[in-house]
């Protein structure tokens, strides 16, 4: 329950009052958001979760405040984005105007759709890589919806914690590989485009 007077909340609010701290939080949220309003939504929801002793309170012995807020903002943005994009999925091929929620500009929705397409492509590659790994698929199925700590995840999966750790490591390895391949592809594509543009401009001059 949201309780700004709880001991952990008071500690967090003290940190938030430190010079420049709130500004960094907003910028961290900006990195995850498409526009300022969304970033501020992330910040508000992150504050709710940090000031809730039963949800994600800040415990200084576990990690630094900024690092904790990074984790919280990531979880908030992950959940809110997943939810919003799920909504975008049911637009049955409509135009951007149909999917634009109130307050969202059409170009932002288009950008978002491009990002969704890229992510879909990367996700498809990732799923293709792990299609024969039943454990990784099961891990993904359970872990994607429930925000569980490793011990809770192990209990939900009925696996020993070591197995959870190993499967997670495999999943991350494949994701890194997919991302790296895509980055290399993009770099090659951009290089080709630049070379082509240079050739074209030379051809026009001659």
């Amino acid at each position: 329950m949201y309780d700004p007077k709880a001991p952990s909340s008071l500690l967090a609010i003290t940190e938030l009052h430190k010079p420049g701290m709130f500004g960094i939080l907003r910028r961290m949220a900006m990195r995850k958001a498409r526009h300022e309003q969304e970033a501020d939504d992330f910040v508000s929801h992150s504050l709710i979760r940090v000031l809730d002793p039963d949800d994600m309170p800040w415990l200084p012995v576990i990690r630094q405040f900024l690092l904790h807020m990074r984790v919280v903002i990531r979880r908030v943005s992950y959940r809110m984005n997943r939810s919003k994009r799920a909504h975008a999925e049911v637009s049955d091929g409509g135009e951007a105007q149909e999917t634009a929620e109130s307050g969202e500009r059409v170009d932002e929705v288009i950008d978002d759709k491009r990002a969704i397409e890229t992510r879909k492509m990367l996700g498809a590659r990732l799923l293709d890589r792990v299609k024969d790994d039943a454990d990784a698929l099961e891990y993904f199925r359970v872990a994607k919806t429930d925000e569980l700590e490793p011990a809770g995840l192990a209990a939900a999966l009925k696996w020993p914690p070591e197995k959870v750790h190993l499967v997670r490591k495999r999943f991350v390895y494949h994701a890194q590989a997919v991302y790296q391949e895509w980055q290399d592809d993009e770099a090659r594509r951009m290089k080709t485009l630049r070379e082509q543009a240079t050739t074209d401009s030379k051809g026009e001059r001659s």
């Binding site: 907003r26 501020d40 910040v43 996700g123 925000e147």
Partner: protein, 212 residues
């Protein structure tokens, strides 16, 4: 009628999840940094500066307002159970009317004074008896040890009395009494002292009469 819940693309869900895991991997590296290094690192990776001014107090007020409604995020384990469930902000049910002020009924106080007193007395008695029983018994009285010197003095005193040497008789009885006061109460001793006193009384008027 509500629209059916939207179906998310598993590929999209997979990559969003992968992005989250990749960032979590980075947390382990960041956790090893000092406060200054971490701040510098996060500032470097953070997004652009927002243009809209927004203070911490405003953000806290917004968070409080959001928390008072049905939050989108909610508690970690509560809201994400149903995958891709639509975000529905439910109207909170109207607060029930406050209950009418209740008046406590007058309950007669049962006076159980005598029973309480009885119980207390019984408890005190048991306590006293217990303390008494726990104490060691008082030391038993016994005669002072036998003093052969006092006994010899008294034998001598009796002999002196028989010889009508009253002065020595009294002297040795007194010495014996000094050593053994308990023995001075013996019947023979008392008889001897009475005889000395009687002789003394009989002699004193003569002496006093002689003076005049």
């Amino acid at each position: 009628m509500n629209p059916p819940p939207p179906k998310s693309d598993p590929a999209l869900a997979a990559w969003l999840f992968a992005e989250k895991l990749l960032e979590e991997e980075d947390d382990a590296r960041l956790a090893k940094l000092t406060d200054e290094e971490l701040r510098a690192e996060l500032e470097a990776e953070a997004g652009s500066e927002p243009k809209r001014p927004w203070s911490l107090e405003e953000a806290l007020a917004a968070a409080a307002e959001l928390a008072s409604k049905a939050p989108v995020t909610g508690t970690a384990t509560n809201t994400a159970k149903v995958e891709d469930a639509p975000v529905v902000t439910k109207e909170l049910p109207a607060a029930p009317a406050p209950p009418a002020e209740k008046i406590a009924p007058v309950v007669p106080i049962r006076r159980i004074r005598w029973r309480t007193v009885g119980i207390l007395m019984a408890a005190s008695f048991v306590l006293v008896m217990g303390i008494k029983a726990a104490q060691p018994p008082p030391p038993v009285g016994h005669a002072p040890p036998y003093d052969p010197v006092a006994e010899a003095l008294r034998e001598k005193a009796f002999a002196a009395c028989e010889a009508k040497d009253w002065a020595h008789c009294r002297q040795w009885l007194d010495e014996a009494a000094a050593r053994d006061p308990y023995g001075d109460g013996a019947f023979e001793v008392q008889q001897a002292r009475e005889a000395i006193a009687a002789i003394g009384d009989a002699q004193r008027p003569k002496a006093s009469g002689g003076d005049h």
